[in-house]
Amino acid sequence: MIGYLVRRLAQLIPVLFVVSVVLFLLLRLLPGDPTTEILGQEASAADRAALRADLGLDTPLWRQFLDWIGGVLTGDLGRSWLTDEPVAGVIVDRLPATVELGLIALLLAVLIGIPAGVLAAVRRRTATDSALTGLGVLALSTPHFYLAALLILVFAIWLRVVPPSGYVPFTEDPAGNLVRMVLPAITVGSTVVAVVLRQTRGSLLAALGEDYIRTAEATGLRRRRIVTVYALRNALVPVVTVTALQIGALMSATVVTETIFTLPGMGTLIVNGIFSRDLPVVQGAVLVVVTFVLLVNLVTDLVYAWLDPRITY
């Protein structure tokens, strides 16, 4: 197990290298002069040229890459071109909103998705099952930006039960924070809930068909106990995997969702960074997100091994 862990961690190094090269080069392909945003659109050509030199944009690409990657390796993500803040600080500032959004979405997935999936499975081919599965497909098929716009319209503008925008850190005002996170979390969570529901239903149905369940049934154990204790336990293994595979997708969902709800998270940081050509911020933020996703994948595999004793490494 330890050997496997070390091997997997070692594999992360080339992956992260690939990621940083792709990321760096892709961002350098972006057209447009980053100095426009910093100096304003009426700055003179000379001022812009001087600033480009300041930012090191007149050195060769490989040099810029080495400077950046060297900084990253020594724990320095550089400074924002736009605001001159340290990138690491900006990221630390923006992480809580995104992490909270993701955690609530996952919580919804566990609290709603799993029970709903179990219900659909045990009530297979009933109206309940059809309704739940149908809702699942609907949730999977609604683009996040559409759902978000509808939620804002109904709950913030028509019913006025939640504020239409704004963010307060959980640590400062827990209630105010949660009220404002409800709609974004539902938006992001819709997909995860649906995925977990479908996977739970499918896996549970599969597990209920296995021999040992039939044996259990034959011995006269109560069905409720069979479902919850024996079948569900095994059925949850793929659910965990699928949920973890959703972490990357979750990040994608937060990009759009944070943009619409103007939440100060990693999603808005990256999107605004791309649009304002604040490349050091984008590089740092994406690298953090990608590293996080890779680590989650790793942990998933370990959890998978722990949950399913048949798997050995």
Binding site: Q199, V242, L245, A249, S252, V271
Partner: protein, 291 residues
Amino acid sequence: MATETTTTRDARRPVLTRLLRDRRARFALPVLATVAVAAVASPLLGDRSAATDTDRLLTGPSARHLLGTDELGRDVLARIVDGAAVTLAVATVAVGLALVLGTLLGLVAGYRGGWIDALLMRTVDGLLAFPLLVLALTVVAALGPGLRNALIAIAVVATPRFARVVRGEVLSLRTREWVSAAHIVGVPTPALLRRHLLPHLAGTLGVFAALQASTAIIAEASLSFLGLGVQPPQPSWGAMVAAGTDHLDASWSLSVFPGLAILLTIAAFNLLADALRDAFDAHRPDLTPGR
């Protein structure tokens, strides 16, 4: 694995027959056929979808404009029909490109193994760790907005997904006796891959392509929502929904109808994937829809 379709009973029945008996497929296929017909027939509309009329902005459904008009007084129905072409292109061209490239890479990586596999798979892992939309967004921003570049971006995002799935299949298939046997009797590798491995991948690839089509359509819609999708005057459902949400108070219909089109099409792809999965009996966690 026993699921809704009992394997023993249906195993020898052709996939297509099973598919056509599936309720989900019977919903999905007509929807997708309608989209395809609309896309192909849209040139017949001429410039109806581009004709602006500033005296009829954001009107509701009427006899003259069955689904109302948009923020420039254009006919929403004509634009939905025209926009089907974009959706179809995303689902076929972008996903098709990713399918071909991804399969190729996955076959090579899975079959050859060694350093090629390691190199390809580390790259694939890296690309997959990018949030889908961030990667697509950056690619489009770098290449410039427009349908062609949006298709490229979506293909770039989807290719590693195909590669990973195909490689996984190949790894499990190549240990089978018939593959080793074919290898021993001297079947050349390309032929072996094409004639022996690829057919076994068809089921998995079919399911996965349908899922990726739904993901791709959502990605295009999201790009269009962020303003990076197709360029005017070509309508895209995503851009129409985006415009509709901007004018929700003035016109309910502008976001509802394109929204419905997008929702039905994505749902159709998702349901088709479900139906295909049961028809092929290819149940695997990585073939679960998601974004």
